[in-house]
Symmetry: C2
């Protein structure tokens, strides 16, 4: 270590000497990364007039003033994530960035001097540092200021922008110190110093290439930009462009899901802006048919009521107001001027002090916002868009309803073993739920704030989701590598005014077992209701136990079959693969016919799942919380439909929102399910579901043909019907029943 420090000092002294001759910063126009000199001149005008932008400026200035009243603190790195020095260095880069902005807008040198002094403090500290003491053993990703280099790259992305904002105010000597002792060494450390991370087609690589590439623009190192774009060897096998090729599907869906997508977004948005401002000839926003804009837009589509759909390792309170997406939406509006983005910006309620942020602020001031067009859509997964899909179905007929159906790929290390699972949302609430991640972010008492052990033992396991579990083992036997290599297949997706339907299958989740699920969110205009239809086919060469859980949020209200409840003792349902975390509270074996389970969500609406059962589906009622010695899990409810010793089985059900419970106003409406009949049959490739609800009989036809033959005719009760497309809904004459 001592030799390393000594060498670093020698090198930096040589660089300082050289730099004194040729201060690099002042050669080019500054700022010119995300914010340009032209932006600054418009922003300076805007802050003189009342409106959202000047409000945002005043707010940020007040906040920066408060923080600048404290002494500059650049501590020797000591703590891991969440610890003091970790948080301090995170605060510092944000503060430098903010103070840099305020300097540009106020033209008050105090702010530039503050950034300078902090940069100089870092320039003094950095050459003395070896790798961080809290780094993981044998890690390829150790940082110096932080325990992992990911944070160091994020530090550089912010700090290089802060430097760009103030460097025109700095002396040649300070520029030399800062560049040669700090910014260049950091950039070199994050590129040449960690080739495996820098070249990796992965979010960590995006942050590294963004930081290094922007450092190249600011400090006039065009080679760094080339390496950032095409990898260290400039081979094109890695680097920023390859990341744009590989990490998103053609529609802009990010393999790990929205929680990680919004995080991944920021370096893409930031570096792309810098590329556009420095080298517009690269046409970065046209790259791959506008993939950056698509990635932003898809992130918005992946939300419900302001929160991201919590698939994979997601923390549920994360939503569209996340700062990464505030930047993304500002860019999206700036690129398109589509008024729907203003609707999102309005909900974000945060204005970025940038050129793009100014456009958003002024457009909002002018009242140009229009509702963002949320859609029913299947996002093809994988870089080719063919590795399964994430399907969103929406309806506004009877509430603000959404189904998330997930025949998506595994999604790497944060992915869950939940092929073909689904979730349901209504009236702003989660109804059929996904546990999300088992984690209390940064809460030291909860396993240091990291992912809890129960994230592996429960949250990732198949039984924690709303999809079939074979023989109490998880999909791919819980092996993420196998999962990554075997995505489900989306058979079809279609959306129309009748509703949205999708079907998908996978035969690799379990050896010798094919899982096929067809789901539809169907609008029944005559009764002003929307129902979710779910037909899950399991076909196997040998006999298995099949479990299909439904995790719901709310209070169980009723079942139309008797349930034998464990009243004075409870046992765990199983021993492993997540089953050890479920208390078995009761079980019931409904007779052949319709089995109903009703619950009441805290939105005050009732939900009934009506299943068409053959007399052999047992219903197990469970609560999460067994084998949880540290009270780490939320105690949520589920019921699991179970069949044993079956080679094939079809789980058929309808989910029906109904009624209203309003004890405040003292009324209760339609607390009982309105579904009175449910039938299922097949006419060639057309699946027929007969449903009587609220007195109206429906025939729902779904064309399952695989060869794309879309038009089908069929007979039903001596009548002729035809279906043109995937989904048809016929309201039958009641009298004929």
């Amino acid at each position: 270590m001592n030799i390393a420090i000594f060498l670093a000092k020698v090198v930096s002294r040589i660089l300082v000497t050289f730099a004194l001759i040729l201060p690099l910063c002042v050669q080019a126009a500054h700022p010119n990364l995300v914010i340009t000199a032209a932006d600054v001149s418009q922003m300076r005008q805007a802050i003189t007039k009342p409106g959202r932008f000047s409000n945002a400026y005043s707010d940020l200035k007040a906040q920066v003033d408060l923080q600048m009243a404290q002494a500059i603190n650049v501590p020797v790195p000591k703590d891991g994530g969440g610890g003091y020095t970790h948080e301090r260095h995170k605060n510092n880069y944000q503060l430098m960035y903010n103070a840099g902005i305020i300097y540009q807008l106020s033209q008050d040198k105090t702010y530039a001097n503050f950034v300078r002094d902090m940069l100089l403090a870092y320039a003094q500290l950095y050459p003395t540092l070896d790798l961080h003491p809290e780094r993981k053993v044998n890690s390829q990703n150790a940082g110096k200021l932080f325990w992992q280099s990911l944070n160091e790259a994020v530090w550089l992305v912010h700090t290089i922008q802060a430097y760009d904002l103030v460097c025109s105010a700095l002396s040649a000597q300070d520029i030399a110190s800062i560049e040669t002792k700090l910014l260049k060494p950091v950039a070199v450390f994050l590129s040449e110093g960690q080739p495996s991370t820098f070249n990796k087609v992965h979010n960590h690589g995006t942050w590294a290439t963004a930081g290094v590439g922007m450092a190249g623009y600011v400090m006039n190192e065009p080679e760094w930009v080339e390496k950032a774009l095409y990898d260290l060897e400039k081979s094109g096998k890695g680097g920023f462009l390859k990341q744009l090729d590989e990490l998103f599907s053609p529609q802009g869906y990010y393999n790990e899901g929205p929680y990680y997508q919004r995080y991944a977004l920021l370096p893409f948005v930031t570096f792309a802006n810098a590329i556009e401002n420095n080298e517009p000839q690269r046409k970065i926003f046209q790259y791959r048919d506008g993939i950056i804009l698509k990635a932003i837009d898809t992130t918005i589509q992946l939300s419900y009521d302001g929160l991201f759909f919590p698939i994979n390792d997601a923390i549920k309170s994360k939503g569209i107001d996340t700062i990464e997406l505030v930047h993304g939406v500002a860019l999206a509006y700036s690129l398109t001027e589509a008024p729907g983005y203003l609707d999102i910006a309005r909900q974000q309620d945060q204005i970025i002090l940038s050129g793009d942020g100014l456009k958003v602020a002024q457009a909002l001031d002018q009242g140009l916002a229009e509702p963002y067009p949320f859609e029913s859509v299947a996002f093809g997964d994988g870089n080719d868009g063919k590795q399964g899909a994430l399907v969103i179905m929406r309806s506004q007929l009877a509430g603000d309803q959404a189904v998330l159906f997930k025949p998506a790929a595994q999604g790497l290390g944060h992915g869950h073993f939940d092929k073909l699972t689904w979730q349901f949302y209504d009236q702003g609430q989660e109804i059929v739920s996904d546990y999300g991640a088992a984690r209390f972010l940064n809460v030291e008492a909860k396993y240091g704030g990291r992912y809890l052990p129960e994230n592996e033992s429960y949250a990732k396991q198949t039984v924690a989701h709303n999809t079939v579990v074979v023989d109490e083992t998880s999909h791919f036997n819980g092996d993420v590598e196998v999962g990554n290599q075997n995505a489900p297949v989306l058979n079809y997706f279609e959306t129309s005014s009748l509703g949205t339907v999708a079907s998908a299958r996978i035969d690799k989740a379990y050896q010798g077992v094919e899982l096929k699920r067809t789901m539809a969110l169907v609008n029944l205009a005559e009764v002003e209701k929307t129902i979710v239809l779910d037909v899950f086919n399991v076909v196997s060469s040998s006999e298995h136990q099949l479990d299909l859980p439904l995790h719901y949020l709310g209070q169980l209200i009723d079942t139309n079959f008797s349930v034998s409840v464990s009243t004075d003792q409870l046992f765990a349902l199983g021993a492993k693969n997540g089953y050890q975390h479920l208390w078995l509270k009761g079980r019931g074996l409904p007779k052949q016919g319709l089995a109903k389970v009703s619950w009441l969500n805290e939105n005050g609406r009732f939900y009934t799942q009506t299943s068409l059962v053959n007399g052999q589906e047992e219903f197990l009622f469970t609560q999460i919380g067994a084998n949880d010695p540290n009270f780490n899990l939320r105690n949520e409810q589920a019921f699991i439909r179970r069949v044993k010793n079956n080679k094939q089985h079809q789980f058929i059900s309808v989910l029906e929102p109904h009624g209203e419970y309003n004890p405040g106003k003292e009324y209760t409406l339609e607390a009982e399910s309105q579904v009175t009949t449910l039938g299922h049959s097949q006419r060639g490739e057309v699946m027929l579901v007969e449903l009587t609800i609220a007195g109206v009989s429906y025939l729902i036809a779904i064309n399952q043909s695989e060869d794309g033959a879309i038009d089908q005719d069929f007979q039903y009760q001596d009548q002729s019907f035809s279906i043109n497309g995937r989904l048809a809904v016929f309201a039958l004459n009641d009298d004929e029943e």
Copy 2:
């Protein structure tokens, strides 16, 4: 029955004949109950101008128009509460009332005719009715239109007003039919026909006297008014005035708690208005030092963040926007013009179409609202205000915090066995919770929508509350009569800028055991925190097991002692008195010193209860849900501090809100308790609590003297202190520790 119907028909025919000669309605000015002719003329003006009042008028008119488009439906009574005919008759009286208002304001006879036609339909039906088929066996309170006469009285209160609003538009013949076949028989049935209910000093009596008294005004039967005011014998032992004397404390607190208080309020407000408008010389609003206004105001004080404190059999979603309190607030504003009532009216967001409602609407339009002054206050219980007290403590120092401390009387049949219990609220959320009532109002599948069996077996029991349980039996051994006769004693209450303190005792909850609890919500200005101090003394002549539960809402985060958790099976904690409904999830025996339990509420704040323990207090961690075969209970958490074989024990603890969990913005602040020392000692009658929190040491002194000697001097660590009042808070110099 046939004879009864025959006689009724004969009587009504005689009355009709008589009435044809002298139609009574038109003799006096109409309307003249809650709404007067003078009000109507102002209201007619108001609806011609834009504003809240004309909006409310348009809304109601549209709603009435929609309902009037349906055929009039006056079904033969058949169903009990929640059933079809029950709900239909409830809708009918509301519709008649609303249509009557719209008639007066629009002067469109269509509305008067609609009310007339419905009244005539009732006049045809009513004489044919015997007692309701769904009445309770041997009930004194059976109705005819409804299963209980309470609903019938509510029907009359509304219907007589509807009639008053339209009668000037009716023909003499219709007036005669309606009065003689319907309104007079109903009034006679509810008074002479049910003397025990009519004369009873009870909420049911209030509705009956209000209905009959108003019928007396409208139909010129001054004797009925006298009887309504003084009871059927005009003795003054019952009737409306006696109800005002007995049912409220001098401060206007209603013995059954806020959930029932707001319900009780409406007939008081309504009939008092009618008395004032017809016989101002009675000075009804000055009666008992303005008790009606006090009752309205107290109902507001008994709320937090818009919802009533859920003591006794309360359903939690009931709050200040309840229609009864909308009427109450309109009256309160009309009587006082205090701008704080407008703040409440604004939150209620509902304008009554009445003279008082007009005043509120116009004042809101003018922007006159000011924050309603919520206070720390002890509401003396019982008609003399000396049967214990319901104590509310509030602080705005560090959030919007409230303690509800309940040394109140039993509160009759809906009361819970929860003497000296408490609840805590912060940032709009329930933190230390009360189960409230176990009931799903009007949800047929849940025990017909009535109180669930678990309301008796769990919700009312002592262990369901945050107070001491002796030997696993409930207070008064669960006997409500004994409870009604033995209220706790409020020793003292004091509020100042330092905080609020109260102390209370009861020695009748358990034979030979004195329970004494001192609670304080203390502002610690130096650290900008507010803590709840809780010292619970139990003194007994013989040895007992003492349990002190704390029911909390949120996720357990940490304990500073080891907890042995039941991981793969759970058992019920006990066999009866509510214990059979608690699963025992874990237990721990902290060493002498400080025992901490921390949890995270969904408001994103952490809460830590720090207890000063002697090494013999065991902590039991429980979850509600055992012996719950119908999934009727919410699965909430508690921990129970338990000592065994003790003659006396002191439970000492501090509850501390701290930090913030914000995974959406990805930060967590102060997740750990800041309390580092907690000590307790006695200096004569002064109780001293030493507390170090966030590095500052405090000495909190509470003067427990019973004789009113308020000034006390004492020594602590060689320093002299004096306390002038009940509560003193000294920030000690840290260096001296």
